[in-house]
Symmetry: C2
Subunit: 332 residues, 2 copies
């Protein structure tokens, strides 16, 4: 059984919703859960749940890292906090993956410090679906705001592994996000990245524009983490603004149940991370699922299922071998 | 009467729709139109319209610059094309503004070469409303893809003038687009821009995130032209994807007329440039309205009305004095 270390103390609704979600994941997904936090607290939460014969155990972590603490400092200063303790379980082979809805900066810092980055990777990155195209992953969506061309190449590889292993797309297309379709367009970063992608051996289809994100023109759309972060947040709230507007303007014109169905579907399409509850952090030597701080039990459970899928589909091994193949391609 | 030089040969539906739209503008807006293009062609088009006693005249321009020609080269190589001829009318004081739906790169190159940039401005920029907030202007949306902090400061000033003079907002708030709200967040560019905006004397409210664009958290949101271009195009097609989805999913559940009303309003809110037909190019010494290539008569007419408004509200004089005030502020 896949073993997931769960940071029970991270997130706006920790520990209650995290523990509930972890129990649900163990119930539905045949996954072994290792809850990390103050054991007395964890046991009190577990006592509220129907745990039966589920594979759930607890590991002590007495300290807590709060939102807003300087990440790298917090990890070094609080080695017994739930994030570093859970991360070390992965490092030491006692867990196969970690789930955390704690402060993202702290999770990333702990992942880098404790698991280390993969060969040829400077900084981790995250990919996520954005804006209405369920088979399109934008990467990076927030890890790295000042990027070099080589990093964008790595993001492409990470996106390909995510599309292949988590979305089940056999030969994902890769595109470079740009201000125009023609080769030679763009800022210095994308102009220097284009030839690397062309030479990468990936299924590179060239530049795409902002227009092409919602239409799903490529499975993997590569951009720096500044652009990706702004885009994803813009798309999420544009979806919400539209839904709010529809609720006002369709009220009385549409059956209430239908209106609710429509708005729920639109939120799911425009805010995919809300539905999934989290996504993989790429580039570190271990399976790390980073979740929204506002995660509730249903999100926790889905994200843990995603962690299980990542482990079963051997995403880290796949990323390592794909990175090494691509790095060889561009050196030739 | 405000005199607008109209590039009658630029755009996918030129000259027919451009001439029709210019006639409509003259009819509705008490504006003098100077059509620029091959006179025989223009007169043939005018013969189809009801021009009566309208203030419309033609100026000969025998050459045409096509979409895809290298802009700066095209302007030098074809001095008798409609874009440079119309631009020279502004330069020589024979027109107060220029409207063109021709190749944007060529219009920008002609504006820079013929009108020149304003003091302290390296390159022109464009601002536009984006994603559901009618009182929010994102600037730059595509002129300058590699920016320096000083340029982002100038974009803020351009946005303020646009918000004040074209949207009628007395004291527009200004924000810096970033990946987080706190000062010190972001890439090198925005980190270096923040203190300039703080010192600018503008109504600067700090950083905003992608989330804050659709909610209209600030009247002017400043970003480099790469980010702005990608954002605006993403928002436009996300709006269209949503409307397409609604048309399928609401069919049969909602009265057809109501469905059409709803989808038209949503397109107008998410694709504001489609409605307005074009926007000002900032940073050159003259009033230039750049329009979509796909502009039809209704868009042409609206954009010419916008040109008239820009001239009457003295946007260029206002931009010059505001730039000079802001540059003095940050030098102190």
């Amino acid at each position: 059984m896949v073993r997931v270390a769960v940071d029970a103390m991270g997130g706006d609704f920790a520990p209650e919703e995290i523990v509930k979600g972890a129990v649900a994941a163990a119930t539905d997904n045949e996954v072994e859960i290792i809850l990390v936090g103050p054991i007395a607290t964890l046991e009190a939460e577990l006592a509220k749940c129907d745990v039966g014969q589920l594979a759930i155990r607890c590991v002590e972590a007495g300290e807590v890292i709060r939102e807003g603490e300087p990440p790298a400092f917090a990890i070094r200063g609080k080695p017994n906090a739930s994030i570093p303790v859970a991360m070390k379980l992965v490092k030491n082979g006692q867990a196969d993956a970690i789930y955390s809805a704690g402060a993202t900066g702290a999770v990333v810092a702990a992942a880098v410090q404790i698991l280390g980055t993969l060969e040829g990777v400077e900084r981790p990155a995250a990919g996520g679906t954005a804006g209405f195209a369920p088979n399109t992953i934008v990467v990076d969506i927030g890890g790295t705001v000042d990027c070099k061309p080589y990093q964008l190449l790595n993001f492409a590889v990470m996106g390909v592994v995510q599309a292949r292993k988590l979305l089940g797309i056999a030969n994902p297309t890769v595109a470079l996000l740009n201000v125009g379709a023609e080769e030679g367009k763009g800022n210095e970063l994308v102009k220097a990245t284009y030839p690397l992608l062309k030479k990468s051996g990936l299924n590179f289809i060239g530049n795409v524009e902002g227009y092409d994100i919602p239409t799903g023109r490529a499975n993997v759309i590569v951009c720096d983490g500044f652009v990706g972060n702004v885009l994803v947040k813009f798309g999420e709230n544009l979806g919400k603004a539209l839904v709010d507007w529809l609720e006002v303007n369709l009220k009385g014109h549409l059956d209430e149940a239908k209106l609710e169905e429509i708005t729920n579907q639109l939120i799911a399409r425009t805010n995919p991370a809300d539905v999934l509850g989290g996504g993989p952090l790429w580039g570190v030597d271990g399976a790390v699922i980073v979740a929204h701080g506002r995660s509730q039990a249903v999100h926790v459970s889905r994200a843990i299922a995603e962690a299980k899928k990542a482990v079963e589909n051997q995403v880290i091994e796949s990323l390592k071998s794909e990175l090494s193949r691509v790095h060889r391609s561009i050196e030739q």
